[in-house]
Amino acid sequence: MNTTNDYCDVLVIGSGMAGMAATFFALTRGLKTIQIGQSCPLQFYSGFFDVMAVHPVKDTTTWENPWDAIVQVCKDIPQHPYAFLTKDQILQAFSAWFEFLEQLNFPYHYIQNQNIAAITPIGSQKLTHAVPKTTWKGISSMMNHQKALLVDIDGLKGFSARQIKETLQNVWPDIETARITFPGTTGEVYANHMANALESSDIQKKLIASIMPRVHRVQCIGFPAILGMHHHQKVCENLEKLLGKPVFEIPTLPPSMPGIRLRNALTHGLSQKGGKLYQKAIDFIEPDGKYGFIAHTSNQKIFAKNIVLASGRFMGKGLIAQRTAIKEPLFDLPVYQPEHRGEWHHKHFFNQEGHGIHQAGICVDQSFRPINPDGKIIYDCLYAAGTILAHNDWMRHKCGAGVAVASAFGSVKHVAV
């Protein structure tokens, strides 16, 4: 088979939040950038942009101000990825990122120095820092105790308007619910199919026909996240025009539309900026004296001066769990981890302190370069970002997206060409 050669300043491994952000920051710096990822991890993303909301996790202490939370986390966990950045740097990373998303017609809403309580598909609330604008409209209606009509769809699993209403009743008492049939469907329906179909204004009209008589009684109308695939903003604007009221979305269980839309928008936007994005596997990587590394795929050699490793944890296969130990498969980097498998997970799934395994990962220095247990940098031109980093329990601290974007920024900032 013919192999082609590719050359770049930065090879980003991973196409999740950290990989996308690293690609963005590298392109913004004018670096020749290639991104390579195997799957589409962003489709599992809810759209909630978490920065930091819970610390210490063992007390489930929640923070209204994510920056106060970060200061405390960095004091208590000096190896936490945020601890390698200043507040200004993190802010700079986030504002560049949100600005880019706005350009991609994927606007986010956030309130300076404040976490917001987002609504989940079971009606629970989760503290996050920023959400897509159409998600925000629901949250602000809730905060203002507006009357809302919450719609769910026949055959859409795991999304019950009644459940959300019941679970939220103490914080949002004025919800009415409606169940509608998605035009032209019977039986099981899927969020992505409906989102695509809703790009047609004909389907939009049919969708809302049955709820029109109830619209005058409420101030806003909520839907599961199905409102458009590629032209989400336009679909929402049309629906608002037809209904005469603001509409909002609540994300469904993953794969969820906010994540799929974000992936589509970023893939398009980063290619436009000159990035090369490949969806394939890396067979192996060898260090190279002249270039930093040579990455081999089935039909390609990529000569990379630098690599940002943003391959995620177990879902992304950035880390591999063997029966006896956790490994990093591409560079065989040392992985910080509990001593025995017996310490990986606590007996209780919802254990307040989280699970030992979530402290595991790659240790880096201040420049986000992986280090060995003695603190020595392993490769001069290798960086790591995102959930693969050690001492970062993103699920319990609620800090996944924030750490991904901030550490991507931090890695790329140190890249020398």
């Binding site: 079971i122 609330q125 989760k126 017996g342 209780h348 799934f349």
Partner: protein, 525 residues
């Protein structure tokens, strides 16, 4: 509430006794502090022993198994898969034990046929290359949940009743007779009294706790056995290691999976049992000597059961003690209308039920003989959804394209959930997610309930079965129960699965945290 016979414990023995007595015309009430098969009856291999396992240690137990196995195959064929079994030895196993095996089987009336080693590996390609002996025996697989659910359903048809989540909290004893039994509903916290003519204590590992309430000293010790479920079926037949009973020497196929176990670990509290990483590693390593594929295969679940051991002097090995059963009359302890039955094996549950029922009938002056060895066990719909692969068949047959698939791993559609819910509602009045799990394959596939638990909970709220808060609590309870069996098996793909599960339930749905913000925050934009 009055009843002729109160049976405490809805495991294989308790439900078996209920059916036995009901067939003799007695009216029974079965109570369980949890639900059907919550103890050892649900925590075993699902093996219908040919008896060959016991020929080296206990001829009587071997004979009982041989006879009972035949009976269960006849009366409850829908619960049994007649897989046949192999006893195999590998290099290094005790040759004396192997040499005596066939003649010992013969003495107990068990047919064992030597199998050519080459043929054995053709029959079961996953067997080790280091085989040194193989014998075919009439082992079979049995679905213990279907068995108990059908036993209790038949007893109910015959006029008996079953109450779940009903824990015995005390007895009123007057003139050496239990007149009143206090019951506490573990879900609602309500208490009520039952006035029985006779009490049968079939609480398994908890039998000693029950007798203690009546000031009767019965020393029960506990031996925990852990088992692993593989994602694929690894053999057509039951595979036994041809040696003295030890760890991880039985592999039983069941539908589309296989089960390997067990261990034997003495524990102090039957309510606090967890399959451990150490046990799992030992099962994988030992089992791989029979079938090397066990080192590589994907496991979906670990679980354990507690063998109750009645302390007997001179019994050295827990495993050897556990095969027998103890039937106790408490006259000498000063209680005239109570019987305790504990121990034993799933294979001999019917015989244990018969002997218990005989004793109780004798004491109560009932002279109707036992019928369970000849009367077929009706296949009811209560147990049918526990069978792997049944719901997809139903779904295909009725080509229900309108029917939404709530669980994709095990292909369980809304219509099946509707059926289980209405059945539970008519029988118990209440419905809960863990109860649906027990009565179906929900949460038992590779995703271990990551998606289907949330979907079914939200569907139950939609139907009005539970409210939003109950949905959250039941979801958490269900996931925790699944977690118990996932935790020691999390490497390779299951680790990825569990990370997704935690990302959804903790990272996204915030079930680990505070679900409702105390106050609605001010908008400061």
């Amino acid at each position: 509430m009055k009843t002729q016979v109160l049976i405490i414990g809805a495991g294989a023995t308790g439900t078996g006794i209920a059916r036995d007595l009901a067939l003799r015309g007695l009216q029974c009430l079965v109570v369980d502090k949890k639900d059907v098969n919550s103890g050892a009856s649900g925590g075993n291999h699902g093996l219908l022993h040919s008896g060959a396992r016991y020929v080296g240690s206990d001829f009587e137990a071997a004979r009982e198994c041989a006879d009972e196995g035949q009976i269960i195959k006849k009366i409850a064929p829908h619960c049994v898969e007649s897989t046949g079994g192999l006893f195999i030895a590998v290099e290094g196993d005790d040759e004396n034990y192997i040499a005596d095996f066939q003649s010992s089987c013969q003495k107990c009336g068990i047919i064992s046929q030597p199998v050519d080693l080459h043929d054995a590996r053709e029959m079961e390609p996953n067997l080790s290359k280091h085989l040194i002996a193989a014998y075919a025996v009439p082992d079979a697989a049995v679905d213990p949940f279907m068995l108990s659910l059908d036993n209790v359903a038949h007893a109910q048809q015959l006029g008996s009743s079953y109450l779940r989540f009903s824990e015995v909290s005390g007895f009123d004893i007057h003139n050496k007779k239990i007149e009143c039994v206090h019951i506490n509903n573990t879900r609602s916290g309500e208490t009520f009294d039952i006035h029985p003519d006779w009490v049968i204590n079939a609480a398994g590992a908890w039998a000693g706790r029950i007798t203690q309430l009546a000031d009767i000293p019965v020393g029960v010790l506990f031996s925990k056995g852990t088992l692993l479920v593989t994602q694929k079926r690894l053999s057509q037949r039951v595979i036994n290691r041809l040696r003295q009973a030890s760890d991880a020497d039985i592999l039983v196929p069941g539908g589309s999976v296989s089960i390997i176990g067990t261990t034997s670990v003495r524990i102090s509290d039957p309510d606090d049992i967890w399959p451990t990483v150490k046990e799992v590693d030992s099962i994988v390593e030992e089992g791989a000597q029979m079938l090397p594929v066990l080192e590589k295969t994907r496991y979906i679940r670990a679980y354990c059961g507690v063998r109750p051991l009645i302390s007997q002097p001179g019994a050295a090995d827990d495993r050897n003690v556990s095969r027998g059963f103890a039937l106790m009359d408490h006259e000498e302890h000063g209680v005239q209308n109570m019987t305790t039955i504990t121990g034993g094996k799933l294979t001999t549950y019917r015989l244990m039920a018969e002997k218990t029922a005989n004793l109780v009938c004798d004491r109560m002056g009932v002279s109707v003989p036992c019928k369970t060895h000849t009367t077929p066990l009706p296949s009811t719909t209560d147990g049918r959804w526990t069978e792997p692969g049944l719901t997809p068949q139903e779904w295909m047959q009725h080509s229900r394209s309108q029917d939404v698939m709530l669980c994709e791993c095990e292909m369980i559609p809304k219509s099946a959930i509707d059926y289980i819910i209405s059945n539970m509602r008519s029988k118990y009045g209440t419905v809960d997610l863990p109860g649906i799990g027990l009565r179906s394959r929900v949460g038992k596939g590779p995703c271990q309930g990551t998606y289907c638990s949330e979907r079914i909970a939200s569907y139950m709220v939609d139907r009005g079965d539970i409210n939003g808060e109950e949905a959250v609590n039941q979801l958490k309870g269900f996931l925790q129960e699944r977690w118990r069996g996932q935790r020691p098996l999390l490497w390779d793909i299951p680790m990825i699965q569990s990370e997704l599960q935690e990302a959804i339930h903790c990272g996204f749905l915030n079930l680990d945290g505070c679900l409702q913000m105390k106050k609605s925050m001010e908008v400061r934009s």
